[in-house]
Symmetry: C2
Subunit: 375 residues, 2 copies
Amino acid sequence: MNATATDSNAITGRVFNFSAGPAAMPAPVLKQLQEELLCLPGAGASLMELSHRGQVFTDILHDAEGTIRALYGISDDYAVLFLQGGAALQFSMIPANLIRGNGKTAQYLVTGSWAKKALGEAKKEGNVEVIYDAKDSNYDHVPSPSDYKVREDAAYLYHCSNETIQGVQFGEEPACPAGVPLVCDASSDLLSRPLEINKYGILYACAQKNAGPAGVTVVIIRRDLLDHAPADLAGYMTYKNHADNDSMWNTPPTFAVWALGKVARWLADDIGGLEAMQKINEQKAKRLYDVIDSHREFYLGHAKAEYRSKMNVTFNLPSDELLGKFVKEAAANELASLKGHRSIGGIRASIYNAMPREGVEALASFMTDFASKNG
Amino acid sequence: MNATATDSNAITGRVFNFSAGPAAMPAPVLKQLQEELLCLPGAGASLMELSHRGQVFTDILHDAEGTIRALYGISDDYAVLFLQGGAALQFSMIPANLIRGNGKTAQYLVTGSWAKKALGEAKKEGNVEVIYDAKDSNYDHVPSPSDYKVREDAAYLYHCSNETIQGVQFGEEPACPAGVPLVCDASSDLLSRPLEINKYGILYACAQKNAGPAGVTVVIIRRDLLDHAPADLAGYMTYKNHADNDSMWNTPPTFAVWALGKVARWLADDIGGLEAMQKINEQKAKRLYDVIDSHREFYLGHAKAEYRSKMNVTFNLPSDELLGKFVKEAAANELASLKGHRSIGGIRASIYNAMPREGVEALASFMTDFASKNG
Ligand SMILES: Cc1ncc(COP(=O)(O)O)c(C=O)c1O
Ligand SMILES: Cc1ncc(COP(=O)(O)O)c(C=O)c1O
Ligand SMILES: [Mg+2]
Ligand SMILES: [Mg+2]
Ligand SMILES: [Mg+2]
Ligand SMILES: [Mg+2]
């Protein structure tokens, strides 16, 4: 048992978990979930056993929504929805609501695996144009505003703010004409930094990276976009149904919403909000990129420096043999789940909100040590 | 604190919870979830924090699948899927996969609120015919085979085995020509009794009544039905994607699958399988219906006797005043969530698998007592 892991998490048996998602959750949140799992104080039952229409759960859902609204400063022009189906269902829901059957064109910026998957689903629903694709440079950057041109009449401009697999991240929103809704897959950097939600038409994220367990997806949608769905769209896929029923058009994933709400409260109360979180995230990322940059022959970073993700640090080693050795020795040091995604290989250290500084410090020390022994 | 509630659940603060869903879960399952919540033994992290692609979670998913297969005796001709979106997404996925764009007709038996909702979604996807609707008798029964005729070339015959709101249940499968896939919404009686799965094309259920927490839906689908989906159907809605990827086409709701697997194991190991469960469920239901039948002027059962649900016992009282008094005094006796669905009013006692006999006994005694005092 790693001493820092013990200190930081104060839970025996836990290691530092760099999984890309489902990913580490804040230890204080896990402890609260555990304490209240058998019987929610005053409710006479576990939260899992309570009707979603009862006061106890509706309060929990509204509290989760309110906390997210407060963290980002989301105005009432937006609905905040808690849906099922993961980010993948959003790949389809967005074009089904906004371009199916209406002849409009959606434009996509393809910066990595996730934007590409979203594009594939959008093509099934209507007219789609790719206005930037970074594939020739193996998805190591995001475009500058001068690299693409958005139509004034586009149904929306789509991008993925953080490509979880390649480890590239938009530093700020893509340039988007007023009048064109900006759509963002923020699955792997939700709640990691302040954003001006007013710049977005839709911002969505599955929870299982930065915001809780798998099984709930947060969709922040400008209310005027609720009215574009075709009448024959599947009820579950119609945003308006969920917005009109406070995310209770059907049974929401109650446990996952409960956990998500607790993570949001931890961010607000224990961390102190999104600016504080951003500062910590930048420090954590810098610590690892500094190690990479001071061992340039040994650690081969994937992303170009200015587009590096603060969430997923991706790099390779000089040989497959050293890569395997790195993963194995790291695991022996209780640094877990560092293997990169099978599609690009190498190492991926996911350091979302819940990864404590101690975990990053332990990894940085291990990397420095490993390089000096094997470099 | 009710003495029987304490004995049965052995968890302080818990009451008998007759919620229709999300509903009571087996206390031993909740205890296991609690024990392992912070750190799954040997995994170094909470189950919620582990990658769905890692060995630990894939073993859990396969174990949940295997236990359900063993309980029902499901052959390899069927895929068993764990999906998100609730039963409501199935209302759309079934017709989208089986009738969209192919000119075939699906036929529906409408026996209550849930079959009716499913019908509404199916109409958006293709040709649909209602071949029986029990609305004229206020959904107090299910049809006999002589009451309807299924086309030999129907795309499928749809029914809801247990209407959760009205409390009517099919005792056996509807008559269905060989060659027509029988489709069943078993959301509120999944795993409550043995079934011959070979009679079905698709049997599905959201978990939050008989099988676990909200957030996962079990779909048992005959493999030949996987090949009918239109090519442009949304990826998430295409059964074949989930079947080909062992329910990991995208991130499954890992916590909910874990809990569902534990409920299935409790059924297999603690209860002794579906025949044993059925016997207990029949005894529990009989206990309550006997009280209703011995106070015919006072308790007004909704369903006709031979179609009564073993899961949701629905009845009314002679006046709204007595109804309110019943709910209030029951709650004071730690018998919770007995109010019927707003659409039909009255009382609904949901006594799924996880409701212990002691809870039913406590309710039966309360009912007898309440009738003698107020009748
Ligand atoms: C950026 C991004 N988008 C989408 C997804 C897909 O999410 P889900 O598996 O919940 O559909 C992921 C990760 O899995 C992701 O990292
Ligand atoms: C028989 C039946 N079908 C469908 C549903 C809808 O399930 P969900 O809310 O998960 O969509 C329910 C209950 O909510 C139900 O009882
Ligand atoms: Mg997680
Ligand atoms: Mg609201
Ligand atoms: Mg439940
Ligand atoms: Mg399988």
